[in-house]
């Protein structure tokens, strides 16, 4: 009897523990009802949980950009969590966790919309060099209407036109972006580039294919006459500067002309190209000269060497004195047809006393003559040595007495 009682008691306790255990279990568990784990962005995402208790635990939620907490709506035994727009509108993994003493957690994926609304296109560099080496790169980020990048492997058509040839190629997005290298051609010109993804087209992009660096060239000179009259101007011209692929180099390419004279001194003149030709000028020398000329595009190309000869025009220098020898007149200075030399021809007078240079006067001619005046206040009455220099000639006048 007692034995039976024991068994009965034991079973009763057992049943009681099991049932209370179950109750407790039910009370604590909040089960996820929503089975969908992938949603398209922009759709309403509702997570539903079954709940036996009348509790409304918060839901922690974190996506690509941030984290937040969502308050549920309890309808009978179902908890509704509506994922707010700023999370439901962004693609990527969303992780959630119920803030409850029996925490449940999980995640779902927000996938981008199926159509492309914007094509974010980046192209660079905007200018490239002609030839087969340089290239520009097109980077495309196709995004949906909610600014989410397309999934990996989305096809993008890249069109580009150069002169008369148009090419179309397909690339695929990879790691959010799609990219294509577009090589330059041998000719210079303009590349037109456009992309298309799921029937959305980008705007037009242009890349300039600029000529490459110039190759060696030739030069020529042009002058009104061959005399060294210190008045006329000699012009130097380059041939048309071209790159290795026969493209005329860009306008404004800087060319420097080096002129070496008989004495080994260097004169320099320069010009920039227009349609491939650079022009530079230099005034004629005033005495017989032999110029050697070569042009350079610094660090890139050089020309051949040409030489130009100039003939002497002033053959002799006549000198006349007046006013107690204090006025010295040089001239007439005659040119190649015995005409008076054009104004501006340089004459130098040097005054020496006992081989010491006292003063130098430089004057230019006017109507074939130059006259110097020696002031009484500067040069006391005495004998001086005078030297006249012009057109490479030198005349020495010793023991000139001033009074």
């Amino acid at each position: 009897m007692k034995y039976k009682q024991h068994i009965f008691l034991f079973i009763a306790i057992l049943i009681a523990t099991i049932s209370t255990g179950q109750e407790k279990d039910q009370g604590n568990s909040i089960g996820l009802l929503t089975s969908q784990t992938e949603f398209e962005v922009g759709s309403t995402v509702l997570l539903q949980f079954s709940s036996a208790e009348a509790v409304t635990p918060l839901l922690y939620c974190s996506n690509s950009y941030g984290s937040t907490v969502i308050t549920p709506v309890l309808e009978e035994t179902t908890l509704h969590y509506e994922i707010p727009d700023f999370i439901a509108n962004k693609s990527g993994l969303v992780h959630w966790k119920l803030i409850h003493n029996n925490p449940t957690s999980g995640s779902f994926v927000m996938s981008p919309q199926k159509n492309v609304t914007t094509m974010e296109t980046y192209i660079g560099p905007p200018t490239i060099e002609a030839g087969d080496i340089d290239y520009t790169m097109l980077v495309v980020i196709p995004t949906d209407s909610l600014d989410n990048p397309m999934p990996e492997g989305t096809p993008v058509m890249v069109d580009h036109r150069f002169l008369d040839t148009q090419t179309e190629e397909e690339i695929e997005t990879k790691k959010i972006i799609g990219y294509k290298n577009i090589s330059s051609r041998r000719k210079s010109g303009r590349l037109f580039i456009a992309a298309e993804c799921l029937e959305t087209h980008s705007t037009e992009y242009t890349v300039d294919v600029l000529p490459a660096i110039p190759t060696d060239f030739t030069i020529s000179a042009d002058r009104p006459h061959e005399y060294a009259d210190g008045n006329q101007i000699t012009s130097f011209y380059t041939s048309i500067l071209r790159d290795a692929h026969d493209n005329i180099v860009s306008d404004g390419t800087f060319v420097t002309f080096f002129i070496r004279n008989k004495a080994g001194n260097v004169l320099k003149t320069s010009g920039t190209t227009v349609q491939g030709i650079a022009t530079a000028k230099m005034i004629h020398p005033d005495q017989e000269e032999q110029w050697t000329v070569q042009a350079y595009v610094d660090g890139m190309a050089e020309s051949n060497t040409i030489s130009i000869a100039y003939q002497q025009v002033v053959k002799n220098v006549e000198i006349a004195f007046a006013k107690a020898n204090r006025e010295i007149q040089v001239g007439p200075l005659k040119s190649f047809m015995n005409q008076m030399i054009p104004d501006g021809f340089q004459v130098v007078l040097e005054v020496y006393k006992d081989n010491v240079l006292l003063e130098t006067y430089t004057k230019t001619s006017r109507k074939g003559y130059v006259s110097f005046g020696l002031e009484e206040a500067i040069f006391k009455n005495d004998t001086y040595t005078l030297t006249i220099k012009t057109a490479g000639l030198e005349k020495n006048l010793p023991n000139i007495k001033l009074w």
Partner: protein, 502 residues
Amino acid sequence: MNRNILRSILIISYMIIIAVIIGGISSLYSYLNTGADRASILHTEIKKIDQYIPDVDWAPLYNEGRPMDQETLERIENNYLDAWYVKQIAYKTNTTSGIEDYYTENARKNLYNTIAHNTEEGVVVEATTLEHHPTLEFFSEDGQLVVITDHGVVEYKRLYKDEVLILETTETATYKIVLLLEDGFWRIRHMVKEYQEVYTEKERFDTLKDISVKGINYYPQATPWDMFGDGFDPEILSKDFQMIKDAGLESIRIFVQYDDFGKANVQEDKLQKLKQTLDLAERHNLKVMVTLFDFYGDYAVLDWTLNRRHAATIVSSLKEHPALYAWDIKNEPNLDFESRGEKQVNAWLQMMTSFVKNIDPDHPVTIGWSNAESAIILKDHVDVVSFHFYEDLDTLEDVYLYLKEEIPSKPIVLSEFGMSSYKGIWNPFGNSENDQATYHKEIQGIIAKHKIPSMSWTLYDFVEIPKEVVGRLPWQKNNQKQFGFINKNGDEKAAFKYISGE
């Protein structure tokens, strides 16, 4: 005679008044002439301040597109981390300042939306990232666009709703990020989270059951709480270490102050002094328990990356040292529970414990709790549990047995105990040197009976105690001065006999 005195008093007072007036006017004049240094108008000098320095570990560069150079990569990294930093600040304060510098116009909307929602809901997110493992996927030919995949971003987050902490979580996530170079800033254009899991700590030291420690907390007598300052003297240390060894002790516990060592930028000279200290300990056959983060008390989430850099520098440069015995993450952190919040402090300790364990897998890590109740808190995270005991000796046995029962699988160290022999105007009923000797005799008995690994406080009586240690109150300061086994004149006190045993 009287008139003369009167006259001189008048003249002197007149002179004083004049002096005061002139002094006043001149100081007013000079005050009005002071102003900002003119050079400062130009902001010519911009100092880089470390605000956010999680571990960044770039994968080898095999990117598509243009080859990357180190300088650009560094700029990208700095801007990318700044982007994370301004985001953390924005979510912590629910304000938007700084975001436009590091997110493009389209991307910043996403942050603004989150902030708006969180403001409305009263949600505040305190977060930091501790690790980044970026791979450079792509660098565009014109150098204006990069794509990176940031693997294994360890993010610690703490969420508050209506100022109540509702969630703490550490997650590992993978992001794909597109950055554009705009106005000289690398700005985030797209960010897509691709993967996330709950961060799991690696476990280790499953075999560490028993250890034996017989040691002492050590500061040089002349420079307590300033061991690595200008007063650092290897000769004194050498002498002291010899004395400790001769007294029958085997180890010392020393302290590294966070600010003193230069916070995130650990000063090389301080580190050298610390190394030298360990070298000397090695020479005298002593083991050293190094206590980190002394005098640090912020625990703010955004400080974490700086704390980790500090710890990483010290731990990695000492982890091979033969004299190193263990790392004590922080001395008595439970004293900050009230001012900083228990959960906040514990979260920091847990993070730091796991971080130090990762850098140095070979040395045990502990936390020097100030009492036995707190010692249970992170028992699963530390390798060795340690506690301090300054209460009535009669309870020590019970306290130790209680801890043993609570934590049967890990060694328990009594890493501070002692008694002050201060008796004076601030504490007329204090303990005498004989009381102190009796205390040490008794406690050594208990220690021997239960084989408690232990370290006493401390070798010396000190003359000066910095206010950071026990505050400014004279009775606390004076009390703290006389915990030593050796008095301020350098003589052994009665307790010295029991420094290492009964």
